[in-house]
Amino acid sequence: MIQQIIVNGAISGSVILLIAIGFGIIFRSARFFHFAHGAVLVVAPYAAFQTMKWVALPLVLVLPVAIMTATALGTGIEVFVYRPLRHRKAGSPILLIASLGIYIVIQNVVSLCFGDDTKSIRTRIVSPGYDLYGARITGIQFITICVAIIITVGILILMKQTKLGIAFRAVANDPKLARTAGIETDSVILWSFVLGSAFASVGGVLMAMDTDMTPTMGMRALMMGVVAVIIGDVNSFIGIALGSVFLGMALHLGVWKIGTQWQDSIAFLILLIFLLFRPQGFLGKKIKKATV
């Protein structure tokens, strides 16, 4: 039993991680809660669904199209909404409200086009999966965990080794100072939207391949990502990874001990406890109280 909880926790943790890392990248560079992230991740599997309807290609070949569509959407939101707002010196609450509005619009457009019922992009029959030390895991779940690990390692290397990563960290640390040093903050933020949206769409597709999809699944998935980011540490990708895995395990422990219907409550109670008593997350250092 306990093996199954660990495996299930790792699977949920991996999906949460894909969304949390994308959200974290955007949050660190642009500094606001990008709610529309939850809509971007829903668009990817629906784009795959629609493309498969048009052309009879296997899912693997359709995936790039799906991920590119969603990434273009996320990037478009940045270019056409957030950037003009930033240039008007809009504060983070205004960006947050605007992103809520965008979320509502996209989610309802998806609902209008595809209906609110569950759609599937699974092509094969659900398999019983493989045996892993007494726990069951399906192929797609195994792939999810691998993808999450690859993306985490990739982003760590990107942040440490590349020019973009260094510029990103500079902007995340102090946008004004970064601009004085000749870094184009707008283009760094643009790239973080590209990367963040791409990761979110990979997460969305994997979610849909595991448990099918509805237009409203994005908000819940996004909120799990946000919880993971806050209980990990906003400023560290390893923190975000730990937060995601911790949250995934906690959710499945909760399912086992309390019941599925209380999953959301468990996640948000954990969030409230962290916000109140350890707002810097697991790994974050305690900083001086910010001046208002």
Partner: protein, 294 residues
């Protein structure tokens, strides 16, 4: 005619909700998406008392106000430690947890089945049952909520709220007990939302948790923002526009299934458009500008 009166009753209920949220968000500057949680708790308390204890309407409203007010303390206290955007997430958390409790605590709330056959209000022998009578009742409460809130924001108390909104550290330095003000504002706002909830429950005579979701909270904050944060007439105008505009869709012949989505698309797009070109809303004086973008 019935239909028109129904729209007016809804507008009245949303005026109470948006005016009370305006006190929290517009005047004190604390963005909150937990208002549907207060609304829902108020509705459930009033409905359950009427159903299980058969107590009269006014005492149900009174208990709903008290209990929701206490809930307001629970949501308000974290605002002392958690700031700005993080507090928005915290209110989101309260909202989701409240919905989840209403939905899953089946032995009390009967969960997704909802509470049917809630008795209509009876006030000192006056049985409120027709649309006209409900309009009168809701109208009285809406005017009352408006006047009470206006009295609050125009008093010295209200000036302190605005001071907290504009510069919290300055308000502290001027010797104001910022913590007490913030919590009190949540209690007042929650209490008014409870009144709206009690009215809604006894008017529709059926409630289920889906009326009190995150989306409902976002809808209420949209009324406040689009109408104008920090202006009470703005909230009234916002409630009228956002309730009537989607109803107009019925007349251009959209089927019901589509209309629900189109309605949400409209107010989502309105939110974005207002943030882009008129962040203070129709009549507002405040634009959530906290959080420096550098």
């Amino acid at each position: 005619m019935e239909y028109l009166l129904h729209i007016f009753v809804l507008i009245g209920i949303y005026v109470i909700l948006s005016v009370s949220l305006n006190l929290i968000a517009g005047y004190t500057g604390i963005l909150s998406i937990a208002h549907a949680a207060f609304y829902g708790v108020g509705a459930y308390v009033a409905a359950l008392m009427a159903l299980k204890l058969q107590t009269p309407f006014l005492s149900n409203v009174f208990c709903a106000i008290i209990l929701t007010g206490i809930f307001g303390v629970i949501v308000g206290v974290p605002s002392l430690r958690i700031r700005d955007d993080y507090f928005v997430i915290a209110t989101f958390a309260f909202q989701v947890i409240t919905f989840s409790v209403l939905n899953n605590w089946v032995s009390i709330t009967s969960g997704p089945m909802g509470l049917p056959a809630i008795p209509q209000p009876e006030i000192f022998g006056w049985k409120v049952s027709s649309h006209w009578e409900f309009l009168a009742l809701v109208g009285v409460f809406a005017v009352l909520a408006f006047l009470v809130t206006r009295r609050i924001v125009e008093s010295p108390f209200g000036r302190v709220l605005k001071a907290i909104r504009e510069d919290e550290v300055f308000a502290l330095a001027a010797g104001k007990n910022v913590a007490a003000y913030k919590v009190l504002v949540f209690v007042i706002g929650a209490a008014m939302a409870a009144v709206a909830g009690s009215l809604y429950a006894t008017y529709i005579t059926y409630i289920d948790p889906t009326s009190f979701t995150v989306m409902e909270s976002i809808f209420i904050i949209s009324i406040v923002i689009i109408g104008g944060a920090g202006n009470l007439w703005g909230s009234v105008l916002g409630a009228v526009v956002l309730v009537v505009l989607p109803e107009a869709l019925r007349f251009i012949g959209l089927p019901n299934s589509v209309a629900a989505n189109v309605r949400q698309i409209i107010y989502g797009a309105l939110l974005v458009a207002f943030m882009m070109w008129r962040p203070q809303g129709f009549l507002g004086e405040y634009t959530f500008r906290k959080g420096d973008q550098g």
